[in-house]
């Protein structure tokens, strides 16, 4: 396992942070993102998932720590940190990163089974994206329907790595990884020819961990009517702020 996936050590001592002018307590070494969440403050995030080591891939949780931008999901809390989170500047840049992810992949919300429950889409709503301002890249990405129960559609992948971490950490398997680099980077599976060659199971945490419609359990689509889906009426992050 890579060192960058280690969860920072927590000493357990209570420290104080200042986030957008509000003082909050935190356990020393706990990540800023989690400390904020414990205090009912939502830091927008995509590649973070509770129960998994942080990835630092999406950068949507970028906050300013004593003026320097860094990812809240990886940065450990310590006494007296001054943080900016809910600012126009950061939210605009977060929205732009969401827009980048939309044009990088081939995300067709109207025909996607995950629409309404998709975290990428929900972040777009929350951060005020009406439509991506960048040109669509229309890249060719492989669809893998080889497995009887699980579909992998790379067109909808945001390279958050949640499936890879969940498979390794929670399922005790290594079904997913990355290959390539830069804009050519893709999610890869632990077999020579597709998902069918792996030991994935539809009930795996890896499948549940996907924030978009990239990993889907077959024959389970569109069971919930429009209007009742996760983010139809409630913005993402509301649960944290509750």
């Amino acid at each position: 396992m890579s060192a960058q996936n280690d969860t920072p050590e927590t000493s357990g001592e209570t420290v104080k942070l200042l986030i957008d002018g509000v003082e909050i307590p935190a356990r020393e070494g706990q990540t800023i993102l989690e400390a904020a969440a414990d205090a009912g403050i939502y830091v927008p995030r995509l590649c973070y998932r509770e129960g998994l080591p942080p990835g630092g891939h999406c950068r949507i949780c970028t906050v300013k720590v004593n003026g320097r931008p860094t990812s809240a999901c990886t940065f450990p809390a310590s006494e007296g940190l001054v943080l900016e989170n809910n600012t126009d500047e950061l939210n605009t840049m977060r929205r732009q990163v969401v827009e980048m992810l939309f044009v990088e992949g081939n995300h067709v919300c109207p025909s996607c089974e995950a629409s309404g429950d998709c975290e990428l889409q929900a972040l777009g709503y929350r951060l005020g994206m009406i439509a991506p301002q960048y040109p669509y890249q229309n890249t060719t990405r492989e669809l893998d329907a080889s497995h009887p129960d699980v579909m992998l559609d790379r067109n909808r992948c945001v390279l958050c790595g949640r499936c890879a971490r969940a498979s390794r950490e929670l399922d005790g398997k290594s079904v997913f990884g990355f290959e390539g680099r830069g804009i050519g980077k893709r999610i890869a599976v632990n077999a020579s020819h597709g998902l069918a060659g792996t030991d994935i199971d539809a009930a795996d945490e890896a499948v549940a961990a996907c924030p978009t419609g990239c990993l889907l359990v077959k024959r389970q689509a569109n069971l919930i009517p429009v209007g009742k889906r996760t983010y139809d009426k409630t913005p993402i992050g509301t649960d944290v702020e509750a």
């Binding site: 060192a3 960058q4 990088e104 290594s174 990884g177 890869a188 020579s192």
Partner: protein
Amino acid sequence: MVETDVVNRIVQQFGGDRTRLLDMARAVHAELGHISEETVAALAKALDVPRVEVRDMVSFYAFFFREPHGTNVIYLCHAVVERMQGADDIARALEEATGTTFGASDPDADITLRYTSCIGLSDQAPSALVNGVPVTNLTVDDVPELVAALRGGRDITRLRQAQVGNDVRTAGQVIFAPTERGAAVRKAVTMTPDAIIEELNVARLRGRGGAGFPTAMKWKFCRQAKEDVHYVVCNADEGEPGTFKDRAILALQPNLVFGGMTVAARALGARKGILYLRAEYEYLLRDLESELDKRRHLGLLGDNICGCEGFDFDIRIQLGAGAYICGEESALIESLEGKRGAPRARPPFPVEHGYLGKPTSVNNVETLCCAARILVEGGAWFADIGTKDSTGTKLLSVSGDCTKPGVYELEYGLTVLQLLERVGAENAQAVQMGGPSGQCLARKDFARSISFEDLPTGGSVIIFGPERDLLEAMRQFTAFFAEESCGWCAPCRVGTTLLEKCLQKILDGKGTFSDLEALETLGETVKTMSRCGLGQTAANPILTTLRNFPILYADRVRSDDGVMAFDLERAKEECCSVAGRAPATGEETP
């Protein structure tokens, strides 16, 4: 199966150590010519790791072929300086002589042509690596002979162009002054680790890679980290386009480099050192290994160095496999551990949690040389050179439009104009200081001084003459970052590509003033949101020219009348050709 036998033998050579996967992959690649999916599976099986992990690593590095290719491989350097000096003409000549195109192999699978980014020979451009052998100062007329030599199976190292010039234009007092082998180490064994660190502190030595972190502080943090094992790593992965000063150091002053590493080992209490050598410099490996052997023979490496009881230290050389990002210290460490070169989240910093999780000091080649010299000449002597905040000398790799390209060792504090006069480039339009990740300077900046306090630089100085299309060069720099982005984080992975396309649109005459605003906003977002130095500096070519050369941009955009410049004819071409219709009139072809 052949692959399995080769893989098993090589894995055994490295004791089945997963962290040496990069070496194993290199060895397998050298023997089999490429790393197929079967080879990946065999490596995974032999190491008992998931194959997806092996594929992750081998798919990352530019110099690993995943498919069979020609017997000979020509990597033509296609970076900005090389293209200024005619690399495109060489490319055409190579395609003509071989009968193939870049990215492909000729029909007999004799020769494969590939482009590569800077190979550290910008002072001798155009240049190429041919089966790993550097060929320099290429002209179109050299190409047929080169191709004939390859086809005839002749020894290309005997070709006239197969040589690297390492003439140092200006030798200074620190790096290129005469050196006595072992002087620094002999001094180090008489000093306590704290005294060594204090000497660097007196010298006010700062890291030469560009960021300028105080070396004494780095070593102190690393020494203080409570662990049984510490590592010294020399970063010889200079990949910044236009940089080649480490090449000159490694060729001319290797003893100073290894001396500096040994001094560091003494200061940190390290027993192992690694020099990470970029794959493009593989041709330097033999001489470096022979220098290491000499040092072992002289007791400058090994157990009880210089008779100092318990001072045991040795150095191995790790070759890379083609990835600019591995110059970033935490990515370099990942690569050393046999993984893809993706930077790590920080904190924790490598001085606490580095190679194999142990405290590691990663230092630039030049920094280590400075450290070795400081031990011999004293910190106060060093601090007297240069300016108050930038002590010592700096090596500059000067290339582009000047009469005297090459390596210069100069005192900090020199102005850009003084440098331009020295290198024969008084009429420069612009100077790219610190390479693409640095800044593009206009004439108004030429009175500024090269120093940490004003113009910090890792050493790359690229000069653009008055006739150059500066913005096209910036586009190529941006494309370079897009190519070298590791892909870990979204803003860099996607943003660099979007930046390049947006600038291309403007250069094509299709941009408007609102595209210029969009370009700047995008650049600032990539800079702020990216995870590591690559993404944080990838927009610099664009952002610094938007600031310093606004008129160049204004001249390239059209007024905004609500209708975008869209190439409708080009978009119609495919349909017209498939359906057999004439594109211009929409009428049927007879």
